[in-house]
């Protein structure tokens, strides 16, 4: 059942169109991430759900109610901000109970809910502390508890981990996901960090220049990007121009070297120019595993990235990255070696223009 529905949403600031033709249905309890670079319209879209911006066109439907023009304080939506936004003049407990006090709930009920929330974020002993006495990670957990305390219909998170250091980011995102699953609350999460989006979401909406590029599960977005932007934005990807040799057998040619894709050429003609993409981890040296596509290459560079070794090879005039697990017992090629690489037909993605 659709819980939150964004229909034909667009937003203009004077002559600048920030969001256009945005359509999305979110199911109850789903965790959806808006992923994209700065200025792609993801935060503006989130702010339209929160009520801080009114769409120029389109509607926002929450639980079958049109809330498009409702004031932010009239919507039952919880929001977590990048800058924590805890009220400095209030203690942690007062911050968490703020929304309930606004709703004129009974004191006992407020105290009980605050205690529940403190326990949920594992800060039972910090109720009397002021925000400035907490670390960044703790402040953001309080902000999450404050947003959840009011039993919101949907939880909005606007780059909530951006201000935190890398280690806390990883642990807190797991905590956010665990809490969201435990409460079964619908969540919309804005981020420009692809790893964050891939690790936390049920579905990802990749945005670029105000438009949706692709909507799908993290698996779909990473493995089967449908546009050149998604392919380049999510993960590392080798992209290059290719020419269609035979659309029926999905045969392509790059710099005179032929390779075969599994699909994506049905509506193409012989001689058409297309863009293809191959993930670095889908390329292997021929000696390891023989596949359909065998391409002559020269090893140009080798970079250690910890658990992964990234090898740069040239195939004709194109340069490709190839990722292989760092195994200290396997001999790596040397720079300048002439070798052959291969990949499966499924690994060759023909991108939509």
């Amino acid at each position: 059942m659709t819980h939150l529905s964004l229909n034909n949403i667009s937003k203009q600031f004077s002559t600048n169109t920030v969001v256009q033709d945005f359509n999305l249905n979110v199911q109850k309890g789903e965790f959806v991430s808006f992923l994209g670079p700065s200025g792609c319209g993801k935060t503006t879209t989130l702010r339209m759900i929160a009520g801080f911006e009114i769409p120029s066109t389109g509607t926002v439907i929450l639980d079958d109610e049109n809330i498009t023009e409702k004031a932010p304080n009239q919507r039952n939506v919880g929001m977590v901000f990048q800058a924590y936004a805890l009220f400095p003049n209030m203690t942690v407990a007062q911050n968490i109970g703020f929304g309930l006090r606004i709703r004129r709930e009974k004191k006992e009920a407020i105290n009980q809910r605050v205690a529940e929330m403190l326990s949920l974020i594992h800060l039972d002993q910090k109720g009397d502390s002021y925000p400035y006495q907490l670390s960044g990670g703790q402040q953001q957990r309080v902000a999450l508890a404050r947003a959840l305390a009011i039993h919101p219909q949907v939880l909005l998170l606007d780059e909530p981990l951006s201000a935190l250091d890398a280690k806390i980011r990883v642990s807190l995102r797991a905590e956010i996901r665990a809490i969201q699953k435990k409460l079964g609350i619908t969540a919309i999460y804005v981020t420009h960090d692809q790893e964050e989006a891939l690790s936390i979401s049920d579905r990802i909406v990749v945005m670029y220049e105000g438009k949706i590029e692709q909507v799908g599960s993290p698996f779909q977005i990473y493995n089967f990007p449908t546009t050149a932007f998604v392919a380049s934005f999510v993960g590392t990807l080798n992209t290059t121009a290719a020419e269609v040799v035979d659309p029926t057998t999905h045969l392509l040619q790059i710099d005179g070297v032929q390779l075969q894709a599994a699909e994506g050429l049905d509506d193409r003609q012989k001689g058409d120019k297309v863009t293809i993409a191959i993930r670095p981890e889908r390329l292997n040296f021929v000696s390891q595993e023989r596949k359909a596509n065998i391409l002559d290459c020269t090893v140009e560079n080798i970079t250690f990235l910890g658990s992964v070794v990234r090898i740069q090879v040239s195939i004709g005039s194109n340069r490709f990255y190839m990722d292989t697990f760092n195994n200290p017992f396997l001999e790596l090629p040397k720079i300048g070696d002439q070798d052959q690489v291969t990949c499966s037909r499924e690994a060759v993605l023909v991108l939509r223009q």
Partner: protein, 260 residues
């Protein structure tokens, strides 16, 4: 080289302190000489026993209090709104708040008298005009103090956070914004207080019983009492500043932290 610099620094500090405190000390010593041959607080007793002092001082405190109340009601929401909704207008608003510095008070006073001393707006002697005039005079101090306070907090995000939790504009202003800029408001309020109590020209023409005209009249007729009044004024100002610093040390103003 370092020692030389330090000596110079201390020399300049001592020079500054002497420049400030010597006249004050001299005034204080002079105020104690009301009785021939002995040091006493006679001039202070005379001042406090003078019914005109009590009357003029109470009126000045009343005008100052009303001015501060009107100023806060007017400038806090304005500064908040400008910062939140029309940040582009900030430069223009700042310029407007500086006008009382540019226009001489005597010109401003004559303008008010001329405009409001004949129908349809015959309000030259009404408390409304007095408070309004003092509010304008104190605007540079109060507005800027509030604006500096607002600069120290993330107004937009705090407002939006409160709204997302169900708060209306009144709650946002009174429960979130004002408590977090309390010290700045108090700073502006005490500065306004000092301006209103010590202002002479406007008080002379618009306000009949006021502290500054009383002091000016006293200076023409008495020797030691004006000195005592000057010391009292200083003590009052310092008391205000002391209160500001005590409140500032508390948890009133927003504290930013927790980046670790």
């Amino acid at each position: 080289m370092k020692i030389r610099g330090k000596v110079w620094a201390w020399f300049l500090i001592i020079l500054g302190v002497l420049y400030f405190f010597l006249p004050l000390l001299a005034t204080f010593m002079f105020s104690l000489r009301a009785r021939l041959g002995v040091l006493s607080f006679q001039s202070y007793i005379n001042v406090f026993n003078d019914p005109k002092f009590v009357k003029s001082f109470s009126f000045s405190i009343l005008w100052a209090t009303l001015t501060i109340m009107v100023g806060i009601l007017l400038f806090v929401p304005t500064a908040f709104w400008v910062r939140l909704k029309v940040p582009k207008a900030r430069a223009a608003i700042e310029f407007i708040t500086l006008i009382p510095f540019v226009v001489p008070v005597i010109v401003y006073t004559f303008g008010l008298v001329r405009t409001y001393s004949h129908p349809p707006l015959l309000i030259v002697n009404s408390p409304i005009l007095i408070v309004a005039a003092y509010t304008i005079l104190s605007m540079p101090y109060l507005y800027r103090a509030v604006d500096i306070g607002l600069r120290s907090i993330d107004v937009r995000t705090l407002t939006e956070a409160a709204q997302s939790l169900g708060a209306g504009w009144g709650t946002v202003l009174f429960k979130i914004i004002i408590p977090n800029i309390r010290v700045s408001i108090l700073n502006g309020a005490f500065l306004s207080f000092a301006i209103v109590v010590g202002e002479l020209v406007l008080a002379q023409y618009l306000v009949k019983p006021a502290f500054a005209p009383y002091m000016a009249t006293l200076m023409q007729n008495r020797a030691y009492e004006p000195a005592a009044l000057a010391v009292i004024s200083f003590a009052l100002t310092w008391a205000c500043m002391g209160i500001i610093s005590i409140i500032g040390r508390g948890s009133g103003q927003a504290q930013v932290g927790g980046g670790h």
